[in-house]
């Protein structure tokens, strides 16, 4: 415990340098702005601003990127409550009751509960991160190639099941991502692969450029093809209206605590944990509430629980990233890219080799969250008014940033072309249910899967049954197989059941 506090103290001393403080505040502020604007999610924003981290030191880079991530969770709730226009997918649930509260003149209370709940949940998540990540990293030090292979495959398969789209499309996107990750020099033998004699291709496709394409450019194209968001009347919130009454406060406390727990646990699972956690928390609160009929009509529990949940996710999803080097979500993959740009590989050695990086990040997130709590409530009107910025100004500037960023990724046109092509392809695939997240994670995890598989096979002298003799790796692979079989069984059972129900309904009407 004393050691943990010492390390955290060291983290605060690193994070409170003037430059890091500014970066944490800038990230949190930019994240809030992004969270407010519908359509531009944290992943797109992190990808847009990735080039700005090229010249920062590694800690500064991850502080800025993490700030954008958690700041966007705060911002998303503002427009969800005031305008019924969720800035983020994670704020959709907040809009159900938050906007109803606003219509009843309780917008201030909803915003206050959302902000304080988010703050509490972030702190819970960060305490969990500070305690669990070093312990998990210690455990992971004993991992060999078979365990890493099994863990990465398990992570990918769990991801396929929770992305919301179809299993085989997610798997296909991940396979395509892994195929793309093979381009360049083979890290084990040094053989060039799929380079067509180009010197640019020897280093493979730049991950930052691909991320800018699939999230940045395709997002802009999606915005261009969708209907224009009209500016709406923003409910005015005065500072004195920001306090909930005693009853609202009492009703919010338990949902905030439960939401923090739900978010923390779900954040450890691969996939869009933020969105899933808000829906789970909302369902849980409705089930536990003495007034379930109020849900959807302005129940404060429906704001408190989900808002806490989505913020706890941000902290807990850093645990697998920082202790195992495995990003289980798209924003985590971008954060990983932020590390990799500076030649740092997150994983079990990160905490022991670069403690200032881990503890500095944790401390900066505490500082950033406090700043968000202090700034967000008084500035809520300002943030909400951002939605009125004309789309032609916003998108034009975003595109300019993308162009500059893509060029800056390598200082050559090669990365511009990669970003442009991957953006156009991702936009074309999107309406057909091909989510870019498994592609990016396949690309990020591909080298790890390949290296650990090849090393495992060499270790086992080609005998794949040896995986079963390794309790941890074998257990994880068995779990992977079970998940896949379960998903396939559901795929067969559901249509059969639907057909039976259809015929059962049809039979009486035919007789009648």
């Amino acid at each position: 415990m004393t050691e943990l506090l010492d390390q955290l103290g060291h983290g605060f001393s690193v994070a409170s340098s003037f430059k890091n403080l500014i970066l944490a505040l800038a990230g949190a502020f930019l994240g809030t702005v992004v969270g407010v604007l519908p359509g531009l999610g944290p992943t797109a924003a992190m990808s847009l601003l990735l080039p700005l981290t090229f010249t920062l030191d590694p800690l500064g880079a991850v502080i800025l990127l993490a700030g954008i991530w958690y700041g966007s969770q705060y911002g998303g709730s503002t427009t969800a409550i005031l305008l019924n226009m969720p800035g983020e997918a994670t704020s959709v649930v907040t809009a159900y009751d938050g906007y109803q509260m606003a219509l009843k003149g309780r917008a201030g209370a909803a915003l206050f509960v959302a902000a304080t709940g988010s703050f509490f949940a972030s702190l819970v998540g960060l305490v969990g991160l500070a305690v669990a990540a070093p312990a998990l990293a210690d455990l992971a030090l004993r991992f060999g190639p078979p365990e890493y292979f099994a863990l990465a495959v398990l992570g990918l398969v769990v991801l396929f099941n929770v992305t919301g789209g179809s299993l085989h499309k997610s798997a296909l996107m991940a396979a395509l991502g892994m195929m793309v990750s093979c381009v360049g020099l083979d890290s084990l033998s040094g053989t060039p692969r799929f380079t067509f004699g180009s010197a640019h291709m020897l280093d493979g496709f730049d991950l930052a450029a691909i991320i800018m394409g699939v999230y940045g450019i395709s997002e802009v194209m999606e915005q261009l093809s969708s209907r224009v968001v009209k500016s709406a009347d923003i409910a005015r919130v005065r500072l004195r209206d920001l306090y909930p009454n005693l009853n609202e406060l009492r009703r919010s406390l338990a949902p905030i605590v439960r939401g923090s727990g739900v978010g923390f646990v779900i954040g450890l699972v691969p996939g869009p944990a933020g969105v899933i956690s808000t829906f789970l928390s909302y369902r849980l609160e409705r089930r536990l509430s003495r007034h379930p009929e109020e849900f959807g009509k302005g129940a404060i529990e429906g704001v408190a629980g989900p808002e806490a949940a989505n913020n706890a996710v941000t902290s807990s999803s850093l645990i697998p990233l920082l202790s195992l080097g495995l990003p289980f979500s798209a924003p985590a993959a971008i954060l990983l890219t932020g590390f990799m740009i500076h030649g740092i590989s997150p994983g079990p050695m990160l905490i022991s080799n670069s403690p200032e990086l881990f503890w500095g990040l944790v401390a900066s997130m505490v500082i950033g969250n406090i700043a968000l709590l202090v700034l967000n409530l008084p500035l809520v009107g300002l943030f909400a008014s951002l939605i009125a910025i004309p789309k032609h100004y916003l998108i034009s500037v975003v595109c300019l940033l993308l162009l500059a960023g893509a060029y800056a990724a390598s200082g050559s046109m090669f990365t511009v072309w990669i970003a442009v092509i991957s953006g156009i392809v991702a936009w074309w695939l999107r309406p057909y249910g091909y989510d870019p997240a498994p592609f990016v994670l396949g690309m990020v995890l591909g080298p790890l899967v390949e290296k650990s598989l090849r090393r495992s096979l060499a270790m086992y002298d080609g005998d794949i049954t040896q995986f079963a003799h390794n309790p941890l790796a074998g257990g994880m692979l068995a779990l992977t197989a079970l998940i896949l079989l379960g998903a396939l069984a559901l795929r067969i059972v559901r249509p059969v059941r639907a057909a039976r129900e259809f015929h059962a309904k049809k039979a009486p009407s035919a007789q009648g």
Binding site: T55, S225, L457, D461
Partner: protein, 164 residues
């Protein structure tokens, strides 16, 4: 069996076309991967993993084509603007190094602002004229990231560093 509506058939056909394109891409990749050494299972070569990944991609893409579902997310409401944007991006990428970031940035923002509904010249100019200069200054001087100066090279650097 329930008969399919025209929209459902169109939706399924589109899904199949996309899946076939991905299958062809996976097949092409597999053909290239097959030229790399597979090695032995006890000592896998550089072609081992790409061949497995491509094989998996091929099977899944064919599966997507065969079991394409009836339902389909609504396609984008408007194709014209994204297509104009794609063409614009390609043009800007071609011109970026010869013309430089500021000139191509002005072109990009002006066309985009106009396409997105900025009907008056001052509205287009309000974003297209200052934004590339500000962005160039930020990248080159605040973040020390090199951007192509192109035709404006003799003027851009001195102006931005205040030597004029």
């Amino acid at each position: 069996m329930k008969s399919l509506s025209k929209t459902e058939i169109q939706g399924r056909t589109r899904q199949r076309v996309v899946a076939v394109v991905l299958a062809v891409a996976s097949l092409a990749y597999l053909m290239l991967a097959l030229q790399l050494p597979w090695g032995r299972v006890s000592r896998p070569g550089s072609g081992f993993f790409p061949q497995i990944a491509a094989g998996l991609g091929l099977v899944l893409a064919f599966g997507s084509a065969l079991w394409a579902r009836r339902e389909l997310d609504p396609p984008p409401a408007e194709y014209r603007k994204p297509l104009v944007f794609s063409a614009l991006l390609i043009a800007v990428s071609l011109l970026l190094e010869p013309l430089g970031f500021i000139l191509t940035g002005t072109l990009l923002t002006a066309v985009l602002a106009w396409q997105l509904g900025a009907s008056k010249v001052w509205q287009v100019a309000a974003v297209a004229l200052p934004a590339p200069w500000v962005m160039h200054y930020l990248f080159v001087h605040a973040f020390e990231i090199k951007l192509p100066a192109g035709l404006l090279a003799p003027w851009v650097a001195p102006m931005l560093t205040g030597q004029v």
